[in-house]
């Protein structure tokens, strides 16, 4: 981690998290995280060439579905596996102790680490989106007005990744990387089925169960909200209300998780 933190703290206190974020991003680039883009490019090129030969009438659809799904899956893998090591790696390498000896608060460190991974995901997702646009243009030779929905789908994937990263960071504040991964994946999967859990309560006709499943429904992050891949692939218009509601939902949830993570991390005995 860079040693410019102290000087930054003197000149502009809240910029500390920014410095940590930039260094986290540099660290990710140094760790060759962005190499996944090569694999993504190969998948897109393969799909663009192959699908026309083995299927009928879905060349464009496959490019959009495969591209968006790949952006989501690669992003999730990065968010979870890097997210859970954001804190533990620093503790393991003992760099956290020298860092916290500087005028930096623990929550600033956490927010910085979170921001750094988010920046990495943003760069990675943006480059993949460019690749997707290129493959789409190769297949259809033009862009349509409905293709704008693809950008909204990418934005929603980013919101989803922001939420998953926050969860991974939260668990990594008090657990081992392996367990944190399991917890994050578990919450993600359950979050996809949040609506089913609520509906399950309705089916039971048991008032207590209904209340319980409803509480779980509102407590869990509802990842289903962010899935508009199918709509985007069919060029359906995405209502503006859904965009701002999802943005606010993700932002509020991330704030709650980061506050919880800061509370846990601040109270943790690092000796």
């Amino acid at each position: 981690m860079s040693t410019t933190v102290a000087s930054m703290e003197r000149s502009f206190p809240r910029a500390v998290s920014g410095v940590v974020a930039v260094n986290t991003f540099r660290e990710a680039v140094r760790d060759r995280i962005l190499y996944n883009l090569i694999f993504f490019a190969l998948v897109m090129i393969g799909a663009a060439i192959l699908v026309g030969q083995i299927s009928i009438g879905i060349e464009r659809l496959v490019i959009v579905n495969l591209g968006l799904s790949a952006i989501s899956i690669f992003g999730l893998i990065m968010a979870i596996f890097i997210g859970v090591s954001l804190v533990s790696k620093e503790i393991e390498k003992r760099t956290l102790y020298s860092l916290l000896a500087k005028p930096i608060r623990r929550w600033e460190f956490l927010v910085g680490r979170y921001g750094g991974l988010l920046l990495t995901l943003l760069v990675n997702t943006s480059l993949m989106t460019l690749g997707l646009a290129g493959a789409l243009f190769y297949v259809s030779r033009h862009f349509e007005r409905g293709d704008a929905s693809i950008l909204f789908a990418v934005y929603f994937i980013l919101l989803q990744l922001a939420l998953v990263t926050a969860l991974a960071l939260f668990f990594s504040c008090f657990s081992t990387p392996v367990l944190s991964t399991l917890y994050t994946v578990g919450i993600y999967v359950v979050g996809i089925f949040a609506t089913d859990i609520r509906d399950f309560g309705q089916v039971t006709k048991n008032p207590a169960m209904q209340v319980m499943t409803r509480v779980i429904y509102y407590l869990l992050p509802n990842f289903h909200n962010f899935n508009i891949i199918s709509a985007a692939s069919h060029g359906e218009a995405i209502p503006f209300s859904l965009i701002w509601q999802n943005t606010l939902y993700a932002a509020l949830y991330v704030v709650v998780i980061l506050i919880a993570a800061s509370a846990v991390f601040s109270g943790r005995d690092l000796k």
Binding site: V51, I54, S55, I56, G57, I58, L61, V62, N65, L66, S69, S72, I73, V189, I192, F193, D196, F223, H224, N227, I229, S230, S233, H234
Partner: protein
């Protein structure tokens, strides 16, 4: 004994890799030959529930739908080459595909063709095809093509002209649908399955698809129906020739020489029509036109 220098050892290893891969490939050929002799497992869809697959897809249902659609296309294509022509998994694959992505119009449209075409080209199940298209119409009320496809299925495969007319009328209600839909609905209601109506239906089918294979099939049908229409006209002239000369014409040349036609009539593939010993016209021996006349048309006078 001295150890080989590192560079030589590296080259040795590099040379060994392709040799080992060649051995692996040869082994795989043998394994393939061995497993081919083992009795084949009966075909079965391991996961046959669309809703369950949708849940299991963890949100990537539209991508899974593309995969299942490709699988359906591959299955259909594979069965066309297979002598058994057994399409038993096709309805299930199409059901899963359209459950995973109810807006995948191509799966309803082509799926209906795969299901409705009579064997050996398809499953010969127009009943399942109409069900599939009706599901598509329910999920995509804005798409007039599906209503037109339903009309086509009723008209051509099921000979249910009342429902065919209704389906075309339904398609005509969509503002994006061509005005032809309303005319077709009226014409089917009035004239049922006459030749001109059938040609019009296939012409519309030709226009509504961009797929070269579908357009070729439609074109073949139009040519076949046109040939039937021509043969009937020639037969009518032969009838007149018989009453005038007391014998059947030996060829269309006789009709021309009698001044009944201006030239030698040719079929859509450019081959002259022939007249058989029974005095009935038929396609020339080198004709490439394929005539498939539905029952009602073949009885039509």
């Amino acid at each position: 004994m001295t150890a080989a220098p590192p560079v030589r050892r590296a080259w040795g290893l590099a040379a060994a890799v392709p040799v080992l891969f060649a051995a692996i490939a040869m082994l795989q050929v043998r394994i393939d030959a061995e497993t081919r002799s083992i009795a084949r497992q009966p075909e079965k869809l391991v996961l046959s529930s669309g809703p369950m697959l949708k849940k299991m897809s963890l949100g990537y249902d539209s991508l899974l739908a593309d995969i299942y659609w490709t699988r359906a296309v591959q299955y259909y294509g594979g069965k066309l080459q297979d002598l058994s022509r057994d399409f038993r998994l096709l309805p299930g694959l199409l059901d899963i595909t359209t459950t995973l992505d109810p807006h995948l119009i191509v799966a309803y449209r082509f799926g209906a063709i795969f299901l409705s075409e009579p064997p050996p080209v398809g499953a010969g199940r127009p009943d399942l095809a109409t069900e599939l298209v009706k599901r598509g119409m329910a999920a995509n009320p804005d798409d007039w093509h599906l209503a037109a496809d339903l009309g086509f299925l009723y008209y051509w495969h099921l000979k249910d002209y009342a429902n065919a007319s209704e389906a075309y009328l339904e398609a005509s209600k969509n503002p994006k649908a061509p005005g032809m839909m309303k005319i077709m609905a009226a014409r089917i209601a009035q004239k049922g399955g006459d030749l001109d109506t059938s040609i019009m239906i296939w012409a519309q089918y030709f226009k509504s698809s961009k797929d070269p294979q579908v357009r070729k099939t439609a074109q073949d049908h139009i040519e076949g129906l046109q040939a039937v229409k021509d043969e009937r006209a020639i037969d009518a002239l032969s009838e007149k020739y018989r009453s005038r000369f007391g014998r059947d014409p030996a060829s269309t040349k006789d009709l021309r020489e009698a001044g009944m036609i201006p030239g030698i009539p040719v079929d859509p593939s450019g081959v002259p029509y022939a007249i058989g010993p029974d005095g009935k016209s038929r396609l020339g021996p080198h004709s490439t036109v394929r005539v498939e006349v539905p029952p009602k048309l073949s009885n039509e006078k």
